[in-house]
């Protein structure tokens, strides 16, 4: 019996050492999002990209990250993880996520397990005067004073933000403006808005697609 005990113990330790060496060899590394396909399901990866969409539901946060490889990846941050997260995540922030690649309802996502799997670098706001046609179709983030607040059509809101002489129209559709988490915004408030830059009747316009993408920085 003693022989078997020693043999069993020896084999376990040697096996563990070999598995450990193997595991070190295949540590997760930063992977371009476009390269991640079904082969990656069940493996851990590190992805790093810009938050191009952000949605909240039942305390969970659902991000879409885009990186230089032009791939996009869904990253759900469940409420248990989100509550441990010291920092908030905003549109256009640079976020690095370590997590397992899983398939959810036919689409791939990278799921962080704990707050330590997420690191956030806040992106600075763009000066409104520097917003021009070259940014059309891109996500941007700006900050400015609300000069004008108009309601057009059935409850859509157009805010005109100004900063250092530059002006930009921010379009908030009625579905976003009507949602319960859309903040009160009045003329004179300083707000931060993020969204996609588009052209409407020959004018540049920032389209806000989520209520959480409008933040009141200073209320008068």
């Amino acid at each position: 019996m003693e022989k078997i005990t020693k043999l069993g113990l020896l084999c376990s330790l040697v096996g563990l050492a070999a598995i450990y060496a193997g595991a070190i060899h295949v540590r997760p590394s930063v992977t371009p999002i476009a390269k991640i396909d079904n082969e990656f399901i069940g493996l851990k990866v590190i992805i790093s990209g810009q938050v191009v969409d952000l949605r909240e539901s039942n305390g969970h946060l659902f991000l879409t990250l885009q990186d230089n490889s032009d791939g996009t990846m869904a990253v759900p941050i469940f409420s248990s993880v989100r509550s441990q997260l010291g920092d908030s995540i905003e549109m256009l922030d640079e976020v690095q996520v370590t997590g397992e690649v899983t398939l959810y309802q036919g689409a791939l996502e990278v799921v962080p397990e704990e707050a330590g799997d997420i690191s956030i670098v806040h992106s600075p706001c763009l000066a409104i005067s520097s917003v021009d046609n070259s940014l059309l179709g891109e996500p941007i983030k700006v900050r400015g004073v609300v000069d004008k607040r108009e309601i057009v059509g059935r409850g859509n809101i157009i805010l005109t933000l100004s900063e250092d002489g530059g002006q930009l129209a921010v379009f908030v559709s009625s579905s976003v403006a009507g949602s319960s988490d859309f903040p009160e915004v009045h003329v004179g408030y300083v707000v931060q808005a993020s969204g996609w830059l588009q052209m409407y009747r020959n004018e540049l316009e920032l389209q806000v697609t989520r209520a959480s993408n409008i933040k009141v920085i200073e209320a008068e």
């Binding site: 005990t5 020896l10 563990l16 069940g42």
Partner: protein, 411 residues
């Protein structure tokens, strides 16, 4: 309706298959059923019925190899020794009858208890969730302390840590996909190791007596209740397997004896299987491979839960009869089987399947798990300490320490 019946029958057939072969687990076959769901005209409900039918049938039938070959699947490992003891007294069929009482009784009782349980599972879970790591750690400490002797406690801790480290390395690194790693891990720790040890038994198989008396559930109510309660607990809390559940139930009820033991451990198993589907509805968490598969197929609301439980009860009725018939057949014929050759064939099939599903890495994991799985028997402590393979990663996860531990290990 017809397709539900057809898929349920398919599930029962697959459950017999996975139950009989110790190396094949329900989890190996669910991907196949899920693949059927993609792009097929079958309603998710029918496929879910197949998965439930397979899980329940597998739970019953897996006691046949556990009893006659001493080859357990995860969850039946604790019943191996007492059932094997009965086998060696020529009472193999009685052991099968006891597992039938336990499995079927546990299924009926847990179905009856779902309604009252639903009222407090949700709130209880949210209350326990933040303290889960303490609860799991307490279970480990109780299990270890039960070894009593100093040497026993030393070995219990060693086996828990070895298997836990193995679990962490296999389930939480990129070496191999976590779900693929489970099979070599569990069949090594609980299957191959036991089979290897029973190869050393040279004793001949005694003549098996077959007692055709009816199943008497009434005298086993106490172990059945204990088993069902433990099963409900383990179906909802992650990381605790049926074996820990049984030991806790025994502690709570102070029941002992071979008969009660086999009944309650098999009751835990079916109750756990059923409650892992209840957990999907009550707390939205999947607590078994089969529940994960059902979750991927459909959203489980109250209506779906009633359907799943209905299928489980329907299948339970069929499975208990199949289990007794097949068990009887096994008892009649076990003497004719070359015992050693059968064990070797089962080991070979586990090794073959491991290589097929998970390659050489899987084989390395299987070998290491087997080496750890041999230790409890030779140093005379409970095999269930090897559940550290799932418990340790779970405790670290709930404590929010998994990332830092992996980082400290350079992973």
């Amino acid at each position: 309706m017809f397709d539900v019946l057809a898929f349920t029958a398919l599930g029962v057939a697959l459950g017999i298959f996975t139950g009989f072969l110790p190396g094949i687990h329900v989890n190996n076959l669910t991907p196949m059923l899920l693949a059927l769901a993609v792009g097929s005209a079958f309603a998710p409900m029918t496929l879910a019925a197949a998965i439930v039918a397979m899980t329940i049938t597998n739970t019953f039938i897996s006691y046949i190899p556990a009893t006659f070959l001493g080859a357990p699947e995860p969850g039946t490992e604790l019943s191996v020794l007492p059932a094997h003891r009965l086998l060696m007294q020529g009472k193999g069929y009685e052991a099968i009858k006891l597992t039938a009482i336990g499995c079927f009784g546990g299924l009926l009782l847990s179905a009856a208890l779902i309604w009252p349980m639903l009222l407090f599972i949700g709130p209880a879970y949210s209350a326990i969730r933040p303290q889960m790591h303490f609860l799991l750690a307490a279970v480990v400490i109780v299990m270890v302390a039960l070894e009593k002797s100093k040497a026993g406690i030393f070995w219990a801790v060693a086996i828990f840590l070895l298997s836990g480290f193995l679990g962490l390395l296999s389930l939480d690194t990129n070496l191999i996909r976590g779900d693929v790693a489970l099979m070599p891990l569990l069949s090594g720790l609980f299957g191959v190791s036991t089979l290897l040890l029973s190869l050393g038994n040279t004793g001949s198989m005694p003549e098996q007596r077959i007692d055709d008396g009816p199943l008497e559930m009434r005298r086993d109510l106490k172990p059945l209740f204990a088993g069902t309660a433990a099963g409900a607990l383990t179906g909802i809390i992650p990381g605790i397997g049926p074996s820990q559940g049984t030991v806790l139930a025994q502690l709570a009820t102070r029941s002992g004896g071979t008969r009660e033991f086999i009944v309650s451990v098999s009751g835990v198993n079916t109750a756990k299987a059923l409650f892992s589907f209840v957990a999907l509805y009550a707390i939205g968490r999947a607590r078994s491979g089969a529940a994960v598969a059902v979750e991927q197929l459909m959203e489980v609301g109250f209506r779906e839960l009633v359907f799943l439980v209905g299928v489980a009860l329907f299948v339970g009725g069929i499975a208990v009869i199949l289990h007794m018939k097949l068990g009887r057949f096994a008892a009649r014929n076990i003497g004719r089987l070359p015992y050693r050759a059968t064990c070797i064939a089962v080991i070979a099939s586990i090794v073959g399947l491991t290589i097929y599903y998970s390659g050489l890495i899987g084989l390395l994991i299987l070998a290491t798990a087997t080496a750890i799985g041999i230790l409890p028997a030779v140093v005379n402590v409970k095999r269930t300490h090897a559940m550290g393979v799932i418990m340790l990663p779970c405790i670290l996860y709930f404590a929010g320490l998994k990332g830092s531990v992996l980082a400290a290990l350079g992973l």
